[in-house]
């Protein structure tokens, strides 16, 4: 049973889709009774609840970067290759397209947006401090995390009370985003060698040890956003951040007074992706072909460009990222074309398998990092605790024997 029999219901989150595109879609697909429905609360939790209950399912739904969560239950979804997805694959970034398919080629997700990670920084403050301030110069000054930290020390000395780095969690998360391997192989085998994880961990601990982090990691709302951090953007205390493109909207909305003062450039450590979402059709949908036609229209280049222009979702299709409506100079970034910077990074991203456990594992590590940063926990003990907890958890869940 779907949520609204006789209609094609589409679940999306707030700021998950351009309302204008949806309005147009409603009109265009009036015959199919296309009904977009903004879901309250956490969409993943709602979707899992509906799947578990076998009731109130949407026909089409958004799915986040943890799409592999559903690979084991692909019978609850529709294989879009049966409805013409294969022919459209060329229009989207290969690594992103790949991420929406199960290991045996079942195309469960259709790409919406991606999250290429860049360095955001306050041009005005860098300039006033006499530091490199133009995007190319900044990128050249901080090619690696090590150089970035050294740069941060200069900021700290020249501008006391201001921070270059949000928290240890940022360093860890974006270091991992740049890795080609994360925690599991695509066959869901746990990677015994976690030396790259240890590298990201050590880097995060080093940033803290050199007193470069502001430590906002603790105070987050259920939505994952930090109000303290918003305050720090407004007051100019946080002068730079490494983050995926989707944070642009959050900065714009919570610190409108800083418009024109931000710039973006290539991040320290190389290209990486964090986040991004998909569209999927549930098996409860009575007319998957109609649903697929709607999806492919929603994700055509013009609509992807509109998604970026309105809510900052970076297009997964290179054609959309070339649309002049969004490549034009962006006043928020002082006339810089931020899209070009993100598109360059996105082109260099390589496929990395994101397992169903990645979020939990990453959270476990970053929780322990927060303990180090805010609770004064010994880093070695924190690392051991994180590793122990993860191994125990995976053993209980039957991943490790």
């Amino acid at each position: 049973m779907t949520a609204n029999p006789g209609h094609l219901t589409f679940w999306y989150t707030y700021n998950g889709f351009s309302e204008n595109v949806l309005k147009a879609a409603r009109k265009r697909f009036a015959a199919d009774k296309f009904v977009p429905s903004q879901v309250s609360g956490d969409l993943t939790q709602r979707l899992l609840a509906a799947l578990a209950g076998g009731a109130y399912l949407p026909d089409i739904t958004m799915i986040g970067d943890n799409i592999s969560r559903y690979f084991g239950d692909s019978d609850r979804f529709v294989n879009m290759n049966d409805h013409g997805a294969r022919e459209l694959a060329g229009g989207y970034l290969p690594w992103k397209w790949h991420a929406g398919a199960t290991p045996d080629g079942f195309q469960l997700g259709f790409p919406i947006d991606i999250g290429p990670a860049a360095l955001y920084y306050r041009h005005d403050i860098f300039e006033k401090a006499g530091l490199p301030s133009e995007p190319d110069d900044v990128a050249a000054a901080v090619p690696t995390w090590e150089k970035y930290f050294t740069f941060g020390e200069r900021i700290r000395d020249k501008l006391p009370g201001r921070y270059l780095i949000t928290d240890t969690k940022t360093v860890f998360t974006y270091s991992m985003a740049q890795e080609r391997r994360k925690y599991f192989t695509p066959e869901n085998t746990y990677l015994d060698d976690q030396s790259h994880v240890r590298l990201a961990w050590d880097r995060a601990v080093e940033a803290f040890g050199r007193r470069l982090t502001a430590g906002f990691g603790g105070s987050q709302t259920a939505g994952g956003q930090s109000v303290d951090r918003h305050a720090a953007w407004n007051t100019g205390q946080e002068v730079s951040l490494v983050n995926a493109s989707w944070i642009t909207g959050e900065i714009k909305q919570s610190a409108p007074g800083t418009a024109g003062k931000w710039r973006v450039c290539a991040p320290p450590g190389g290209p990486g992706n964090q986040g991004g979402s998909f569209l999927a059709i549930t098996a409860a949908c009575p007319d998957p072909q109609a649903a697929f036609d709607i999806i492919s229209w929603l994700q055509n280049p013009a609509n992807q460009a509109a998604n970026y222009a309105e809510i900052g979702l970076f297009p997964s299709g290179p054609a959309a990222a070339d649309d002049e409506r969004i490549t034009a100079p962006d006043p928020f970034f002082g006339g810089q074309s931020a899209v070009r910077v993100f598109a360059d990074i996105a082109d260099q991203v390589k496929y990395a398998y994101f397992s169903p456990w990645d979020i939990t594992l990453s959270d476990t590590y970053t929780d322990e990092l927060t303990n180090v940063e805010l609770g004064g926990k010994d880093p070695e003990r924190a690392w051991r605790d994180a590793r122990n907890r993860i191994e125990r958890l995976l053993r209980r869940q039957g991943v490790l024997s």
């Binding site: 429905s37 578990a52 009731a55 709302t221 956003q225 109000v227 918003h230 919570s254």
Partner: protein, 273 residues
């Protein structure tokens, strides 16, 4: 008490009340200013002029009146059902003995320790089987009678209802239900007032179960709408605060209207219990 002692007591009570009410004041301050004002340092300590603008934003972003209506429906229907079922059962347990009545009351007491709120997972599956997921029925029906209310009201009824009254009713030829209606209910009125407010407030403010069982955004309660506003629109903090303000105002108005009556009965209820 000396004049000085009385003055000090009075001053301390006023300070305490001011501290108690401060969060409301602060909420109104934040809701009536802009987001950058909230983040500014030193903070703005007085009301701004953005209140109606912010409330307008709230109404345009979430279906405030829809969720208010849903909450009202759930709270009113549940409260009426609880008052009826609980008082009827309490009246019966307090004043009648029938085969198994003691055992049944014992079972009722035992249910206190059964952690039903922790069975949220299978409860959800059950709602799915019944086809009630996403429907307000899923909130109302399971809450229509509860052990706490029955136990508590039974204690009250046992003390407040003299046997002579019941005997008189029986001699007058009243059947069981008529005795309940004409003798039981009037005497139980203070207890009903307490249980009614208690239930209404609890249902109004309930969060965990609605969070689990309500899926569709057209059928959410005020608390969920509020959490949604916070989780999703936190970038516009003054709007979140305006939403918070409008979400608590209805219940506070209802409370202020009957506050004296409410409070007296709550105290009376607690003592009798």
């Amino acid at each position: 008490m000396s004049t000085r002692g009385r003055f000090l007591t009075y001053a301390a009570l006023l300070v305490g009340a001011a501290i108690t009410l401060f969060p409301y004041y602060w909420l109104a301050v934040m809701a009536s200013n802009t987001t950058p004002d909230i983040y500014s340092s030193p903070p703005k300590l007085v009301f701004g002029d953005q209140l109606f603008h912010n409330i307008g934003e709230v109404f345009s972003r979430i279906d405030f009146f829809g969720s208010l209506l849903n909450t009202l429906v759930v709270a009113v229907v549940t409260t009426v059902a609880v008052l009826f079922f609980d008082s009827l059962a309490a009246f019966t347990f307090a004043k009648y003995t029938f085969p198994g009545s003691k055992i049944l009351f014992g079972i009722l007491l035992a249910t206190f320790v059964v952690p039903t709120q922790l069975a949220a997972i299978p409860q959800f599956s059950l709602m799915a089987d019944l086809g009630w997921v996403g429907s307000l029925k899923a909130l109302i029906v399971p809450a229509a009678a509860n052990a706490f209310g029955i136990f508590w009201m039974r204690q009250y009824a046992a003390g407040a209802l003299p046997d002579e009254l019941l005997d008189a009713a029986r001699i007058d030829g009243c059947g069981f239900f008529r005795t309940y209606l004409h003798v039981g209910l009037p005497v139980l009125r203070p207890a009903l007032a307490f249980l009614g407010i208690f239930t209404f407030v609890n249902v109004w403010n309930d969060f965990l179960w609605p969070l689990v069982v309500l899926i569709d955004s057209r059928h959410i309660t005020l608390q969920l709408a509020l959490a949604q506003l916070n989780g999703l629109y936190v970038t516009d903090y003054s709007v979140v605060m305006a939403g918070t303000l409008v979400a608590i105002v209805p219940l506070i108005i209802i409370f202020l209207f009957g506050a004296r009556h409410f409070i007296r009965n709550i105290a009376a209820g607690a003592l009798k219990g």
